[in-house]
């Protein structure tokens, strides 16, 4: 089921590289869900929590503002800062 390759990058290096099933991106107008086969998209991200669901469970990352690009089941998240939130 995991079909989306998610890359969360900051200027200091990658924070997360994983194949996931769904990604939830925080934007200024609420969160946007991305599933397999999503149309190409560029969106501005605001500070908030990014969620991604994979077969291994759900991960949450706190991210700073930035930008995300979705294309061909690849999600690139470029942000000023990111850190994994522990459960």
């Amino acid at each position: 089921m995991d079909a989306i390759s998610l890359h969360v990058l900051t200027g200091d290096g990658p924070v997360l590289e994983q194949t996931v099933e769904a990604v939830n991106l925080p934007t200024a107008f609420g969160s946007i869900g991305v599933l397999k086969g999503h149309a190409p998209m560029l969106c501005n991200l605001e500070e908030g929590v990014l969620r991604c669901r994979s077969s291994q469970g759900t991960l949450r990352l706190f991210i700073g503002s930035g930008i995300a690009s979705v294309e061909h089941n690849e999600v690139n998240v470029l942000v000023s800062a990111a850190s994994l939130l522990e459960e």
């Binding site: 890359h7 990058l9 900051t10 200027g11 200091d12 290096g13 990658p14 934007t27 200024a28 107008f29 946007i32 149309a39 190409p40 998209m41 560029l42 969106c43 501005n44 503002s65 930035g66 930008i67 690009s69 294309e71 690139n76 470029l78 000023s80 800062a81």
Partner: protein, 274 residues
């Protein structure tokens, strides 16, 4: 005998110099590795951002950072020097390059200095900033904000970064990069992409990201060059101490031999006199 002691003392002092230069070399090598790997991580980030910008294929529009001003009267130079000395000609050649650049500049110019070395060596700077040995994205972001503000306030119509470009570990050469106004890549093909919330905001965000990346990559490149220059300088300094020690040891042996010979001939002479 006094001569012998003097030579021994010199050897000792050269040996302690060697110890210092050797450890400075190791420290520089470790820092070089650190900045180099940070550099490559930063490049992959900047590459992605540039790729997205290209795919957006946007025209500069009325983005305040891309628009060229009708008149460019004031230029701000941002000079990135090292944090310390003892790195060969790294700082001096950059300073010489900058002075030539500034004397050939007809517009009014401002000077911002980055790096601790510049604190004592460079006069006439409007502002000074401390940049760590391995600059982080956060440091780059803060500096970018300051420079952006300078540009939008109209205190400068052009911002130029002056730094040592990293060619290889053995060679760096002074160069410039214009930060603002930003030149967008041309010939991008605009695909069928959803833009959230709209094209202008996405472009604004991307421009911000690109500016930050430019500053961060320049900071990293400059620092990588500094560590490389220091490592090279300290390697040759260590080699020189080895040579000096060999010469001094030879001199010491000569002097010792001469002393022994004199002593023997004195004894022989004394015995013959009796």
């Amino acid at each position: 005998m006094a001569n012998l002691r003097a030579i021994r003392m010199r050897i000792k002092s050269v040996e302690s110099t060697r110890q210092i230069t050797k450890s400075m070399k190791m420290v520089a090598a470790a820092k070089l590795r650190k900045t180099q790997s940070a550099s490559s991580r930063q490049r992959s980030f900047a590459g992605k951002a540039a790729q997205i910008l290209q795919s957006l294929g946007a025209s500069a529009g009325d983005n305040p950072y891309c628009r060229r001003r009708a008149e460019s009267k004031k230029v701000c130079y941002v000079l990135l020097v090292g944090n310390r000395g003892l790195c060969g000609t790294y700082n001096h050649s950059l300073l010489r390059f900058f002075e030539e650049l500034r004397s050939g500049e007809e517009r009014e110019s401002l000077l911002y200095v980055l790096g601790r070395w510049g604190r004592d060596q460079i006069t006439g700077a409007e502002r000074r900033f401390e940049i760590s040995d391995a600059p982080t994205a956060e440091e780059a972001r803060e500096l970018t904000e300051t420079l952006k503000k300078l540009y939008t306030d109209g205190a400068a119509d052009e911002i130029v970064l002056v730094y040592q470009q990293f060619k290889s570990v053995l060679s760096q050469s002074p160069g410039t990069k214009t930060l603002l106004p930003l030149r967008l890549p041309e010939g991008g093909e605009k695909g069928d992409v959803i833009l959230e919330p709209d094209e202008k905001s996405v472009l604004d965000r991307l421009v911000e990201l690109v500016l930050q990346n430019t500053v961060h990559s320049v900071l990293l490149e400059g620092r990588t060059g500094e560590h490389a220059a220091r490592m090279t300088a300290m390697t040759s300094a260590s080699d020189n101490t080895e040579e000096l020690i060999a010469e001094l040891t030879l001199e010491l042996n000569h002097a010792r031999q001469a002393a022994i010979t004199t002593e023997i001939s004195e004894i022989v002479g004394g015995a013959a006199a009796i």
